[in-house]
């Protein structure tokens, strides 16, 4: 019980100091949000045209279907990508994490010239604004064709079909990546810094003269970075959803990552700070450990776009499993895979935490 009281007392003093130091708050909370805004702006809103996968099944020689497709393409609101006849369009969309597609039926030109009703199937996600843009464009072009020959009576008739593949956008990857970034950076840099500084200024010696134990001290730091990561998480999700309409699944399965992540990196920072003699050396070693992890773990982009050897390196970095796990929960909803990530993180955390506590000395011989 008295151990809990001491952890709370230390937590209060540390968190108050952290909040009073505006730099810490900036890097802990504001900086990741700025990154979301910057990267989101760079990669999301580039052209405004929605990519649509079109399969033209009309192989007749009239050229009407081809004309219709190029009319769609020149609308400026959608960008057409042709899909060959050998593909099943709805499977093709699923494979490409896309939801927008159009099928021009085989009897398209024959029916049109015969003034017979013909249905153009438009695949889309009812919840997505891009899908309404696609449907609106197709309807508009169809209307023109209907007006041209038939005074506006409905011959070409676009029909909506719902596609279940969630369209995954860059921002959807970016948010878990940057949550991983903030889970890594704040506890890691702070603990490297604090543990080497306290050793140099003899603050640890000072604390060793009180009933506070080093285990209690480390626990209160871990608790604070869990709180900070949770706050940073909520802020980033809110910005991602409000500013870029990110698709994010919020479930309790996120908790293991938000708890284990800060624990792991606080302990890792502690370990680096405690095995190095001078604060300067600690800072350098801290950077050597942190920076590769920051760029190679799928933080700013999915690791699938990296060359194979870098992907192999990524698999030995602890942060990779945090971000992969967050992606599995937030983007893919794949809990089974997320549990594998949790298991890997638990093992690394236990090892690092135990090593940090073992090597960390209040006093010297």
């Amino acid at each position: 019980m008295s151990s809990g009281r001491r952890i709370i007392a230390d937590f209060i003093v540390y968190s108050r100091g952290y909040i009073r130091n505006r730099y810490g708050l900036f890097f802990g909370l504001v900086f990741p949000v700025i990154l979301i805004l910057i990267f989101g702006a760079i990669f999301s809103g580039s052209s405004g045209a929605v990519t649509v996968y079109v399969q033209n099944q009309d192989t007749s020689s009239t050229g009407l279907a081809t004309q219709f497709v190029s009319a769609l393409n020149s609308s400026g609101t959608i960008k057409v990508k042709m899909v060959t006849l050998s593909e099943n369009l709805s499977n093709y969309l699923a494979d490409h994490s896309a939801s927008d597609g159009i099928i021009i039926p085989a009897n398209f030109s024959a029916n049109y010239y015969a003034a017979r009703h013909v249905v153009v199937i438009v695949y889309g996600d009812p919840a997505s604004t891009s899908s309404s843009i696609v449907f609106g464009t197709v309807s508009g072009v169809a209307n023109l064709y209907n007006l041209e020959l038939f005074n506006g009576s409905t011959i070409i008739d676009p029909e909506k079909t719902t596609v279940n593949t969630q369209q995954t956008k860059y921002i959807d990857f970016l948010i878990p990546g940057l949550i991983g970034f903030s889970i890594l950076v704040s506890p890691m840099f702070s603990l490297v810094n604090v543990s080497s500084e306290y050793k140099k200024t003899k603050l640890f010696k000072q604390l060793s003269l009180t009933p506070l134990t080093k285990m209690e001290w480390l626990t209160s730091k871990v608790l604070w970075y869990i709180v900070l990561s949770a706050a940073s998480f909520l802020l980033m999700v809110a910005v991602g959803v409000l500013a870029y309409g990110a698709h994010i699944t919020l479930t309790l399965w996120l908790l293991p990552f938000l708890i284990l992540g800060p624990t792991l990196f606080a302990a890792l920072g502690m370990l680096v700070g405690t095995v190095t003699k001078e604060p300067e050396t600690a800072g350098v070693i801290g950077n050597i450990v942190t920076f590769p992890m920051m760029f190679l773990s799928g933080t700013f982009f999915p690791i699938s776009i990296m060359p194979h050897y870098l992907q192999t390196i990524a698999h030995v970095l602890p942060l990779f499993y945090v971000i992969e796990g967050l992606n599995n929960v937030m983007v893919y909803g794949n809990i089974t895979n997320a549990l594998v990530d949790v298991a890997v993180i638990v093992v690394i955390t236990v090892v690092v935490f135990a090593a940090a506590v073992k090597l960390f000395r209040w006093r010297e011989d």
């Binding site: 100091g17 952290y18 009073r20 003269l209």
Partner: protein, 310 residues
């Protein structure tokens, strides 16, 4: 119970004998000063007593405990200001006291402690904005949170300006008046003299002198001397006509007095010489003189030895 008992304490770092076979005891209610230049081994010795360092050999009992083995228990009963005390920058003295009270599981009135160390006006200033003296007083305040009877003050006034130092002395005297046993290290002679009941002078890991100021002067000082302003010629005359060991420098003739009556014989010889002479006085070594002699030099503000003698 004797609060501190040290016998033949030894601590070596490689070839450096930081503390080499020192022994002393500190009795209840006493202020004991460890005086010496930097590198004399004061801090190593005091940190071993606090349980922050491990001894190599010798026996120590602090409040009847082994400081290293029983450190966790001992720390609840002692108060410490470590050398170069620092604290969390964004914490005020008042918050620091509450923090320590929570750690010790003690109900305490922060204002009372602030008042005791003359810090009531800066209780809510963040540590980083305090002056050197206020920082040291914060350290003292924290060392008092668990109401210890035994206090370790490691260079409590190093780096402070003279008025801050005097204010700190004031506080320490107040604690002595409350009956606390205090062991303090310092390289300021006046500080040791002003505050301590007994002083141990340390140099190169040894205690070279120990006792009250008077005892140390009696043991290690030169005793009483007769000093006469006069010429070298007079000095030569006295050398030839008395049995004293006469020294001459800068126009002052100096001779040690074994007995008071030696002075009469010397003055009679002066009169017989018919030579010019000026002021006459008797002189004895101050603690300052003894200290310079024992550590082979004077010690400056930062505790470094400045004038090596031959």
């Amino acid at each position: 119970m004797i609060p501190i008992e040290v016998s033949n304490l030894k601590k070596h770092y490689g070839k450096v004998k930081a503390v080499d076979e020192i022994s002393f005891t500190v009795s209840e209610g006493e202020v004991f000063g460890l005086l010496g230049p930097n590198g004399a081994g004061k801090t190593t010795a005091i940190e071993i007593l606090e349980g922050l360092r491990k001894k190599d050999a010798g026996s120590i009992r602090v409040l009847d405990m082994d400081p290293w083995e029983d450190g966790y228990k001992l720390h609840r009963r002692i108060g410490v200001i470590p050398q170069g005390f620092t604290f969390f920058e964004k914490t005020s003295p008042r918050e620091a006291i509450i923090y320590y009270a929570d750690l010790f599981g003690i109900k305490t009135d922060p204002d009372e402690i602030l008042k005791l160390v003359l810090l009531e006006d800066s209780g809510t200033t963040l540590f980083e904005n305090l002056s050197g003296g206020q920082k040291q007083k914060t350290g003292l305040a924290l060392s008092l949170v668990n109401s210890p009877d035994l206090l370790f003050l490691d260079e409590p006034t190093t780096g402070l300006d003279p008025s801050a130092r005097r204010a700190m002395w004031e506080v320490i005297r107040g604690l002595k008046a409350k009956g606390k046993t205090i062991i303090l290290t310092t390289h300021y002679l006046d500080e040791a003299q002003q505050l301590s009941d007994r002083v141990a002078i340390m140099n190169h890991g040894h205690i070279v002198a120990m006792g009250t100021s008077d005892e140390i002067i009696r043991q290690h000082g030169s005793g009483e001397r007769l000093e006469i302003q006069g010429s070298e010629e007079l000095a030569d005359f006295l050398r030839a006509n008395t049995e004293h060991n006469v020294e001459f420098s800068n126009g002052v003739i100096s001779m040690p007095l074994k007995h008071k009556t030696d002075a009469l014989a010397a003055l009679e010889a002066v009169a017989r010489s018919k030579l010019e002479w000026g002021e006459i006085r008797t002189q004895r070594d101050s603690l300052d003189d003894v200290f310079v002699k024992l550590v082979s030099g004077a010690v400056d503000e930062r505790g470094e030895i400045t004038t090596e003698s031959d």
